[in-house]
Amino acid sequence: MKLSRILLASVLALSACGTADTPSTPAPGASGALTPVKLQLQWFFQAQFAGYIAAVDQGFYREQGLDVELLEGGVDIVPQTVLATGKADYAIAWVPKALASREQGAGITDVGQIFARSGTYQVAWKDSGITKAADLAGKKVGNWGFGNEFELFAGMTKAGIDPGKDVTLVQQQFDMQALLKKEIDAAQAMSYNEYAQLLEAKNPATGQLYTADDFVIIDWKTEGSSMLQDAVWANTAKLGDPNYQAQTVKFLTATIKGWAFCRDNAEKCRDLVVAKGSKLGKSHQLWQMNEVNKLVWPAAGAGVGVIDDAAWKQTVEISQTTKNQTGDTVLKAAPEGLAYTNDYINQAIEQARAAGVDVTGSGFQPATVTLTEGGA
């Protein structure tokens, strides 16, 4: 952990030297040509990023004079580092992880909180008797580590459990086999991915797929320890440049349109993601689209992407106070400087609304998706 921090810091320091001669942002659409923009995603193409994929495919970015290139993530690609080192113009990242990078010197700002809600669950077998965080005491609790575990730890702490003593912590793989094999009693899962994998697996006892009735979900939103996840991050230093400001508003306007499109056309967006070469099957991808829509819509307040002060404060507070098993907190101190701003997303919402986009999606109703074996 220490070593990786030092490495990250030196990487940042090195690249800071290298970005001095970066050309300043040209005014978008100034010369009629499209402005190239790179967006770094957190992972491979999947419905989690459908709004951006749709905005590219449906020409929403092009309407705004932007030629957006989506960069896929990888195991060791840290989006906020890519952004801070100037190799991308915007990045998608979870708020706590991005704030940790900020604390280590990455100059980035949250300009649009696309996911208003967290999609992290802790899943257990129904017959295990676990229904809430307090029931995890004395159990084997799977967690992903690497900063993905803090909602779980905060939830347990809140329920009066000491994560260091009262539970057996197990480092979990990215699949759910450990839960299926009952090596652990509760497993971390994203509502839009790993949880679906459970429902795509065959129960050897019955020969049928597992159903939602076989499992219990601890949802950190109801336990009150959820943290903000996918957000659009911009380069703080560049936000001083009026052209980059204008570009950010245009980028967010088209992004809002993309997510609104996927809310209203979930199946079409699923097809777009599959066409992008995602290896996840069609029913899995539609499930993911539907679950991700639930995290975005309906958008409270002024509209999609506005950073809710209370949710932000909760995220920061948990980041500062919750200790993981090695005794680390995400943040040592409250974020300094411009960690988030609603200036650009509010302008973008105005423009999108003027263009006839439903920016709150107050009438959004999630669909019911049936998963097939293996998500095929």
Binding site: S4, G74, D76, K87, F174, D175, Q177, N193, Q197, E373
Partner: protein, 280 residues
């Protein structure tokens, strides 16, 4: 012929061991004093070979191409990356070895760094190199750089050892012929180094495969077998056989590269006896 037979026998033995353990092993695995000593033998952890073969024939996704074609395609892509990395790494390794042999000060100054280079974790290196993709070079070339980074090391060290292997008497003989450094290198040192070079090349081949696969996983470069492994392993919960198809592909790739490198050896090792005479 004998070789082919022994390869087939080896494959059959591996298949028997797999299915045999599945039949005899505890489906829950064997745990001794809380430590798992033997893996689980259930279908989720170790699918039947027939299931894996069946999975290879089935389409990857509804309406998609069969898995074996996808895997083969990915292997070819990674083979290209590996070949580029292997060639670049070998060239760099040879040049470094020659330079270190020629100038003692270079050896003293450089060798520690050559060794140090292999202690830098790929996790730290990969994102840096991935950043070159798209601007300096295409994304696949970044992965080749990672492969080359791993491949140059055994060649540099092995070749240095080989170039230094001729006896002082041999070197003095060349000097008495008034042969310069280059001529001594070509006539004496290089042939003498061949028995050292080939094992080094085999190591470099294996390292290049590892570098390519890990580099793909690390940087998320699409198209290759490394990326396929990580994509399929995410589906391990509901489709365990699929993961093994990609792993089979990676194993095949490793074998192919190892085989190719040892073929390289055949025409060149004619010199071996000659070398032995010189190095006496």
């Amino acid at each position: 012929m004998r070789r082919v037979l022994s390869v087939i026998a080896g494959l059959i033995a591996a298949a028997l061991a797999w299915e045999g353990y599945k039949a005899a092993g505890d489906p829950e695995g064997t745990v001794l004093f809380g430590v798992r000593v033997l893996p689980r033998a259930d279908d989720l952890s170790m699918p039947h070979l027939s299931a894996i073969v069946q999975r290879l024939a089935d389409p990857e996704m509804t309406g998609g191409r069969p898995v074996w074609i996808v895997v083969l395609d990915a292997c070819l892509f990674t083979l290209g990356i590996t070949a580029a990395g292997f060639l670049a790494g070998t060239a760099i390794g040879l040049v470094l070895a020659a330079a270190m042999q020629r100038f003692r000060i270079v050896e003293r100054g450089l060798l520690p760094y050559v060794i140090l280079s292999q202690t830098v974790p790929l996790v730290a290196l990969a994102p840096l190199i991935a950043g070159w993709g798209g601007t300096l070079m295409p994304p696949w070339a970044c992965v080749s750089v990672i492969a080359a980074y791993l491949a140059f090391f055994p060649v540099a060290v092995g070749m240095l050892r080989g170039l230094q292997s001729p006896s002082a008497a041999g070197a003095e003989l060349m000097r008495s012929y008034a042969a310069g450094w280059w001529r001594t290198l070509m006539k004496l040192r290089f042939p003498a180094a061949l028995p050292y070079l080939f094992p080094a090349l085999r190591l470099a081949g294996a390292a290049a495969v590892v570098g390519a696969v890990v580099g793909e996983i690390s940087t998320g470069t699409r198209g290759g077998i490394g990326r396929l492994i990580i994509e399929y392993s995410r589906e391990a919960t509901s489709d365990p056989a699929k993961v093994y198809t990609a792993m089979l592909g990676a194993a095949l790739l490793g074998l192919l590269v190892a085989g190719t490198v040892s073929l390289l050896e055949l025409p060149l090792m004619r010199h071996r006896r000659h070398v032995e005479v010189v190095t006496l």
